[in-house]
Point group: C2
Chain length 707, copies 2
């Protein structure tokens, strides 16, 4: 796959200038030069310090311009006010790669910081010089012992590339990711961001798994497109933080208040095959999982356990993470029954302790693991085994037995939970063999297998080719309807919203505007009774509250009096309100009420919302999201993700709704949102899903007035 290479000098520099390095060294001084030397970096280092002379035996330069030799990378850790000037020097000297460690720019609370941020952006614009930071620990390349961080850094080297927005993920990479190969802290990301860094790591052969720590994005669409290209070839695990602060956004419609930022991120991750990690404590085991197992073809788990109680815990976790306990074949059961005591029920979990005690624990483990892995009904195995004694002397040591057996089934992960006082040593030996992962708990093992399964299930046979706009869109009519609303300076478009979605090919209830009782009678003749009446007025947003809605009108006489009644109600409730007439609508019943809409997200642009409609929408929050546009396959996935899918597909004695029609509506709504960024929010609520088709009964659009 293609890859950018401009990050090479950041990650593998031949020579580094360290600007702002202090002459004080030792614990508590956080000296970058000291750390870099301690790490064992073999390239050239040029410390820059106003006093010159030398630091820790390395010649120091009074200024950047004094360095005669070529500099691949400049690392700046001066006080913040000096930073823009030094960046300018870098540009003038032709240094293409700059890391700014210093804090206090867009991260600060003051105007000066923001001002200097823009100054730096302007200095490098168009020069070819690129910046990582400010407010960063910089870059770690553990393969060449290169580290720009000022903290004492000590971690396992593994083929994992990590991109983060906070230095903690480099400084504590052993705790979070369980080690690191290459780490890039993009900090405030004034220039280099997630997308370019991710593409760079995707192109490196020494990186097999990518980790992201993400607080927010500047350009969600670019990120999403890159992720779609990368994930089929390399797993991307993301830890999204800051999710709890999302609720604050003001919103004026259902879709708006439902689509919190966090849900949109989850949708984008789901669409692009990125694996979301809910708990940072599990990232390290997930990395081990993706580095160790090459595949997982289904979700049926076999369990081999020394303890019945532990087996039950593992089955609980299996169900918690939406995997299933495998139903072993008769053949497997028979093979196990031969070696198990007569009085035992053999099943899954296979409790091997009584058999193991009688006939040798290692032998029975090997036999059971082999039979269960060979079973066509099994996609992965969890093996629970103890670590009471040192592995060298433990008669219950099953490390070789498990590795030898598991290695013969490379397409079926064998996960291990080892417990007991010596578990760390066992885990280390499993790690070294790279066949099976030893997890910290049964819960972790199943959590990680579930993520592995979902990743492979996502990428299997998938090739994203983009979305074509569906046929039959009347863009002229849609534009005219929006303009009508905008010209009236409406904050919320109602009647026009129905016209807009209809122009995009979504079926809308039959309706007509009457400007007199007589015209209403004539129009009702065309629509047929029963009809509903709603006042049409640019001044009234909540029609029911103003007495502006009357339903279930069955005859001409009822219609005439209802028309007058609405006009009277509205005039009493809102004297002076402009009344454009009364909207007649064919009254439709039956079907399931869903909500379909979307909004413009500041990070991802057009975002679709779909879910249960009607008065329970906000209470139940049975909704799902996607970044628009979506393919019909993605639209169908959305429908299937909701709990309401059961009702839509005909549960509780209902007739099944028109799912194909609903898919089409979702696709069209996505197209509408993408083609009309001036639609800030749009809802169809309810959209009736009936056996013979869908029908929008009510809609609203919140337009933007940026001209």
């Amino acid at each position: 796959m293609t890859s950018n290479t401009f990050l090479d000098p950041f990650v593998s520099p031949q020579s580094v200038a360290l600007i702002g390095v202090s002459s004080r060294t030792g614990p508590g001084t956080f000296n970058v030069l000291e750390r870099m030397l301690a790490g064992g970096y073999k390239g050239k280092i040029y410390p820059v310090n106003p006093r010159g002379s030398s630091i820790m035996g390395v010649k120091a330069y009074q200024s950047l311009t004094d360095i005669d030799e070529p500099v691949d990378l400049a690392v700046i850790s001066t006080p913040r006010t000096a930073v823009p000037g030094i960046v300018r020097q870098c540009v003038e000297k032709g240094i293409s790669s700059v890391i700014i460690i210093t804090q206090g720019f867009s991260d600060a609370g003051d105007e000066d910081g923001m001002h200097m941020h823009h100054e730096i952006v302007n200095i490098i614009r168009g020069t070819g010089t690129r910046v990582i930071g400010p407010n960063t620990l910089g870059v770690i390349n553990a393969f060449i012992n290169f580290n720009t961080s000022f903290v004492p850094f000590n971690t396992r080297t593994i083929p994992v590339g990590l991109i983060c927005q906070s230095g903690i993920f480099l400084a504590a990479s052993q705790d979070f990711s369980g080690g690191i190969g290459i780490g890039i802290d993009i900090g405030n990301a004034c220039d280099v961001g997630f997308t370019e860094s991710m593409e760079y790591l995707a192109g490196r052969d020494d990186i097999r798994v990518i980790n992201l720590h993400l607080e927010g994005l500047h350009n969600g669409r670019r990120f999403l497109a890159a992720a779609r290209r990368i994930t089929p070839h390399k797993p991307v695990l993301v830890l999204k933080t800051g999710s709890s602060e999302a609720g604050a956004r003001a919103a004026s419609s259902h879709s708006g208040s439902l689509a919190g930022e966090d849900a949109v991120f989850s949708a984008a991750f789901a669409q692009s095959g990125i694996i979301r990690v809910e708990d940072s404590a599990r990232l390290a085991e997930l990395n081990q999982t993706f580095l160790t197992y090459r595949e997982m073809r289904g979700k049926r788990i076999g369990f081999i356990t020394i303890s019945g109680g532990a087996g039950i815990m593992a089955v609980d976790a299996c169900s918690k993470y939406d995997l299933v306990a495998a139903r072993l074949s008769d053949q497997t059961i028979k093979a196990l029954e031969v070696v198990f005591p007569n009085w035992m029920n053999v099943g899954n979990p296979a409790d091997i302790w009584p058999a193991g005690m009688a006939k040798g624990y290692g032998k029975i483990t090997a036999l059971a693991l082999d039979k269960v892995l060979a079973d066509d009904n099994v996609d992965a195995v969890v093996c629970i085994t103890p670590a009471y004694l040192d592995p060298d002397t433990d008669p219950l040591n099953t490390i070789d037995v498990i590795n030898d057996t598991a290695a013969r089934f490379p397409h079926k992960p064998t996960a291990v939970w080892v417990f007991g006082p010596h578990k760390e040593k066992y885990a280390e030996q499993f790690r070294a063999a790279q066949v099976a992962v030893a997890y910290g708990s049964p819960d972790s093992a199943l959590y990680c297998l579930a993520k592995l399964y979902r990743y492979h299930n996502f990428i299997r046979g998938k090739q994203y080719t983009g979305c074509a706009a569906p046929p039959g869109i009347n863009r002229t009519a849609a534009g005219a309807a929006i303009d009508t609303g905008l010209n009236k300076r409406l904050t919320v478009l109602n009647e026009q919203a129905l016209d807009v979605v209809e122009a995009y090919g979504i079926p809308v209830v039959r309706r007509a505007l009457a400007q007199s009782p007589e015209q209403a009678l004539e129009l009702a003749g065309g629509l047929g009774y029963p009809v509903a009446l709603k006042v049409a007025s640019p001044d009234i947003t909540h029609k029911s509250d103003a007495g502006g809605v009357i339903l279930n009108i069955l005859s001409d006489s009822e219609l005439s009096s209802a028309y007058d009644k609405i006009i009277q109600n509205v005039q009493a409730h809102r004297p002076g309100a402009r009344i454009e007439g009364v909207l007649l609508q064919a009254q439709v019943t039956g079907g399931t009420e869903v909500i379909l809409g979307g909004r413009q997200d500041p990070q991802f642009g057009a975002v679709l919302v779909f879910g249960l409609g009607g008065i329970y929408t906000e209470l139940v929050r049975d909704v799902t999201f996607r970044v628009a546009p979506v393919t019909p396959e993605e639209a169908l996935e959305m429908i299937k993700e909701t709990r309401s899918f059961k009702i839509l597909s005909g549960a509780r004695g209902q007739l099944p709704g028109d799912i194909d029609g609903l898919v089409d509506c979702i696709v069209r709504m996505g197209t509408l949102l993408c083609e009309h960024p001036e639609i800030v929010e749009v809802d169809i609520n309810p959209l009736l899903v009936k056996p013979d088709g869908c029908l929008a009964l009510d809609a609203r659009i919140i337009p933007a007035y940026r001209e």
Copy 2:
């Protein structure tokens, strides 16, 4: 508090007979005697082995009867067929305490096992001899190095008492509970069970926290009553396993299918103050939490962090576990602003790194922790601090600083997350000081604080004094209505169900049975239009399907034709069905539909269900459970736990419902269930909650036919 003492000889025996001990020793032989000697137990040991002589230098006896001295405890690990005979010998010899390690009784799949189980129960009945097991690792008392388990056992001694149903929790107690003081594996629990063991541990001064591993209970009510007495004095943490296998229970009503076993356990735990642990990997940290912190008065958390990114993660976790980030007082902010750089926004989390780097990290940590703990808006603090170097040489070592400051605020927990390569050493030093707990991740810290808060919030000022039955119950009428249904051999009671709940004081819609169109007209005059008609027939369960329901009848003429129509429909649909007449019901609209019901649970008896009603009940599953009876306070808690509470209390422009009336209905339903164990399941669905009261519109009762 009172305590039983009969378990003393099990836990602190002066002398132990080991029956079935082998003469083979060394790794892989699982010799109980060897393990007991290795542990350092100081009491008398009498091995029993048919060959006699001596084992590991201890005199062995050929049979139990050969032992002349008194025996406190017998531990049996012979083959299973020998066990009943040995238990009989124990009884004859007057040994009051027997542990049966051997497997293959009620745990086995065969008849012989079950038969021997009953044999043992019969042998000890009325003799004063008590049994732990079979199928157990027995007992551990780490305080006196006593251990009946055959596995090499190595764990930290902490004042935690553990009761389990699977030996894995003793064998892996270091992994699960982080150590142990006393452990009792009740195994198959043929005699001694959870309740007695829990009461015993509650009475021991050397046990400060109780842990339960629970798969199921024989008598849930006895357990619940004991837990209610114990939890105010001693925290009880429970790991409930086997939850995923619950779904299989057949059920024939909403309440039945909604109240899965696991939800009932959760309800019982919530009612008695037992703390449920969702993930076994967190039990050890929870024990540390409850052993270390004596109180937590509120849910407002202050954060002091060396890393902004880690602070955000901690705030995320705070929100995830329903705690809140504290709003620091102006005074606290000002005190911090003095030492922080000018450009920083000071807030919560307090990111102390820039200030710490400039002015000394330890000093700033002490100052910030002191100010934040002293803030009246703060109930607990999470402190995030690194462990890059060995604590002895690390200038960033804040162990003493944190302990000294935290110790001055004993009512406000200070939780720590230490990260970096030396974190284990730091955690060990924190553990030794017993002031602050060092957690494995920010997520863990907040998870544990949330459990701590909820426990103290539950026990604060609470004294459970039981439930009195509410006044105004017409038990005669209720009994008569049930009998009517039973005499008709109905599998589902409908009309009678409304009579029953009405007799218990729950308001029911006005209704009357008409046996002719003329009588219907007369009754409608009394009820007033609109009315609904429903066929009354013991042979028809699904009335709508049979055309037996017509709604919204507005006049005498509509009523007459509807009456005839219903009779025709039913006769056509179910020729020969007995028709007792047609039920007229006043048609009521408005209000919020809830479901109120319950069922008899095999473990806990009468269980209440309350939640959102109508067609969305099963889809939305916005329901909550309690073991009945409940107090009005518990009923109100149930209402508040549902998401529907928002709607009931007047969200979305609705009038608030009559919550007091609803509380009364729930209390009465609880009384009904407790007084009528022959009611297997009961539902009121919907119960309308209107501003001026509640009204049951439809109800069903599934009766038991045990005569």
